[in-house]
């Protein structure tokens, strides 16, 4: 029982970290479609650094850093300038796909090579990141609800004019929101390659970044809600293995499709009920 809970938490962690970070980002008004690409690049960076250095913690850190760098790219284009957030995010996803593919192949040859990376030490069935993730969710919630920083960040995503009227800088809070989004997505990506799979394979994120986006909505823009939603997804992912082991006749492909289909259904039914942050994805120009 504990073992399966730990398994669910582990599967959920990458998507959950991205979702928690993106919740903060979207609350500030920025939509980061490039989550998928961020996770992929960070998974690669984390795996490579861990492989070369032999130190998985270094790998984890590199993943986070990669996430921050990519978020900065989005910030430069979308917050400092007014490029379309969807286009930039899509470009980022493509960049990650291309770069990781190109680097991977140049290092390991065209067909790739199976290798294992050093993984994070576990305590019992639990790895440190899986344990830290729910704590991060609660910390994010606390930050948003109980501090002035969080309050201003939320206001920046709802009514940036009010933030300016209060004399604060909207771009600054959006940058910070982006950094949280990218940084956590980076950690999630690194966790994916270091802990969940133990290796890197091309395109290994398989849409987790987009599932994370869906979970932000499904979790009603609360970090804890997003985490809970991702646990559900993690459970569905873990089903692949447990049902296969049990020899049940459910086709594996349909099980693999389940997380995506469930995310879609969740969005379809939540859809009209909740309001996203009112100023989401709308570029903000400072009034002179």
């Amino acid at each position: 029982m504990i073992e399966s809970l730990a398994a669910v938490a582990m599967f959920a962690a990458p998507t959950a970290l991205a979702a928690i970070g993106e919740t903060v980002g979207q609350r500030s008004g920025v939509l980061n479609i490039g989550l998928e690409g961020t996770m992929l690049l960070s998974a690669f960076a984390g795996a490579m650094v861990a492989l070369w250095s032999g130190n998985p913690w270094l790998g984890l850190l590199s993943g986070g850093l990669a996430g921050l760098v990519l978020a900065a790219l989005v910030g430069l284009l979308c917050v400092a300038r007014d490029a379309d957030q969807v286009v930039v995010g899509t470009g980022l996803n493509l960049l990650a796909l291309g770069l990781t593919g190109a680097w991977f192949r140049s290092l390991f040859g065209q067909s790739g090579k199976l290798f294992t990376v050093p993984t994070l030490p576990k305590v019992g069935f639990w790895d440190p990141v899986s344990v830290a993730t729910p704590l991060l969710a609660m910390a994010a919630l606390w930050l948003l609800q109980r501090t002035y920083w969080g309050l201003t960040l939320r206001a920046a995503g709802e009514n940036p004019v009010a933030v300016e009227a209060a004399g604060r800088s909207v771009p600054r809070y959006r940058w910070l929101g982006l950094m949280v989004s990218g940084g956590l997505a980076g950690l999630g990506g690194a966790h994916l390659s270091l802990v969940v799979s133990g290796t890197f394979a091309e395109n290994m994120t398989s849409g987790r970044g987009f599932v994370a986006l869906a979970m932000v909505t499904f979790g009603r823009w609360s970090p804890v809600g997003a985490y809970a939603a991702c646990l559900l997804i993690g459970y569905l992912e873990s089903l692949q293995f447990s049902l296969q082991a049990a020899g049940k006749g459910v086709p594996q492909e349909l099980l693999l499709a389940l997380p995506y289909a469930v995310s879609l259904l969740a969005l379809a039914f939540v859809g009209r009920g909740v309001r996203s942050p009112a100023a989401l994805a709308a570029p903000y120009r400072r009034t002179k």
Partner: protein
């Protein structure tokens, strides 16, 4: 000054992508030469280019329709797959009749499959407020799994032990244009579709509706245009175009669908469309350029095993540099006023 504004983003994009080659320790000059040779050096190269251009062009046109209407369809790949899958299903279910049917029918069925698949996302956005940018990608993954399940189950050719569907008979495949290479008539479709789409977008009222709804949906509403229907319709057309690409791949090149059907063309068509200025004729140029680059990417293997992935990265860097330049120019223009 107007000229500079139009040219500069492409120039910067080219420069940035050139730098990318350097990062991978490939000389941009040598790379260009080798890519050009692989794209148009001989008839086989040209055939390869045209074959790769076709899905990029058709999906690119699909992106144009949707994005111009303001619907962020990034599910071109899934819609392409849906098209091919529907084709294979009809072939299997049709039995004897399907074998005698014209290949163009499969292309049309492909379009229908894509249109249906895209309409799911279209309906979700128009009536449930689910952003297409998320739903289309999720649907991509769903159709991919559906495909994998079908080809190792109900659609699998029983005589083979591998996940592939039954092969189309030669008569049901698109006619070959050149006996020696793989070039087939399907490559013409894109070049016919582009001017047709141009006509629709710029010379029909529906096309105006699409562009206006994308430019300012609130103003479209105030002008009493049915915005939801417009978005639904453009998603359906977008999916139709991408599905047609799937039908062409099925009935033109492959003859059967398998687990390796997805080559990401639908996704790679997005930067093609954006760099083509979201204009049907611009997309023709853009698709040819990238089709050629992908065709030539095998030659890149001489310098680096990165191959086609490097071209993808090239596309991405070009796109981002393009956007960055445009955004910067907009900022400068704004402050000069």
């Amino acid at each position: 000054m107007l000229r500079l504004r139009a040219v500069a983003p492409y120039a910067v994009a080219l420069l940035a992508s050139g730098l990318l080659f350097l990062v991978f320790r490939v000389s941009p000059v040598q790379a260009s030469a080798v890519l050009a040779e692989g794209a148009a050096g001989d008839r086989f190269a040209v055939a390869r280019t045209l074959l790769k251009t076709t899905p990029l062009l058709l999906c690119g046109l699909g992106m144009v329709v949707a994005w111009r209407a303001g619907v962020y369809n990034i599910g071109g790949e899934g819609q392409l797959l849906a098209g091919a899958v529907l084709g294979a299903i009809v072939f299997q279910a049709g039995g004897a009749f399907a074998g005698a049917a014209t290949p163009w029918l499969f292309v049309l069925i492909g379009g229908l499959g894509g249109a249906l698949w895209a309409s799911i996302a279209g309906w979700l956005q128009a009536y449930r407020g689910v952003p297409a940018v998320i739903s289309t990608i999720l649907l991509n993954f769903v159709i991919l799994q559906l495909l994998l399940w079908l080809v190792s189950g109900p659609l699998q050719d029983p005589s083979l032990g591998v996940p592939l569907s039954r092969r189309l008979p030669e008569v049901a495949m698109l006619p070959r244009l050149d006996r020696q290479s793989d070039l087939h008539a399907g490559v013409l479709i894109g070049f016919l579709a582009a001017p047709a789409l141009w006509l629709v977008l710029y010379r029909t009222f529906w096309g105006l509706d699409v562009r206006f709804a994308g430019a300012n949906p609130e103003a479209a509403r105030a002008n009493r245009r049915p915005v939801r229907w417009i978005q639904l319709g453009s998603m359906a057309l977008s999916g139709f175009l991408c599905g047609t690409a799937g039908g062409v791949e099925y009935a033109g090149s492959l003859g059967q669908i398998g687990s390796g059907l997805s080559q990401n063309w639908g996704f790679l068509a997005i930067p093609v469309a954006l760099l083509g200025g979201l204009d049907p004729l611009g997309v023709v140029v853009s698709a040819l350029v990238f089709g050629g680059l992908y065709a030539g990417s095998d030659n890149l293997m001489r310098f680096t095993p990165a191959g086609s992935a490097l071209v993808t990265a090239f596309q991405a860097v070009a796109l981002l540099a393009f956007i960055a330049t445009r955004a910067e120019l907009r900022r400068r223009e704004g402050s000069a006023v």
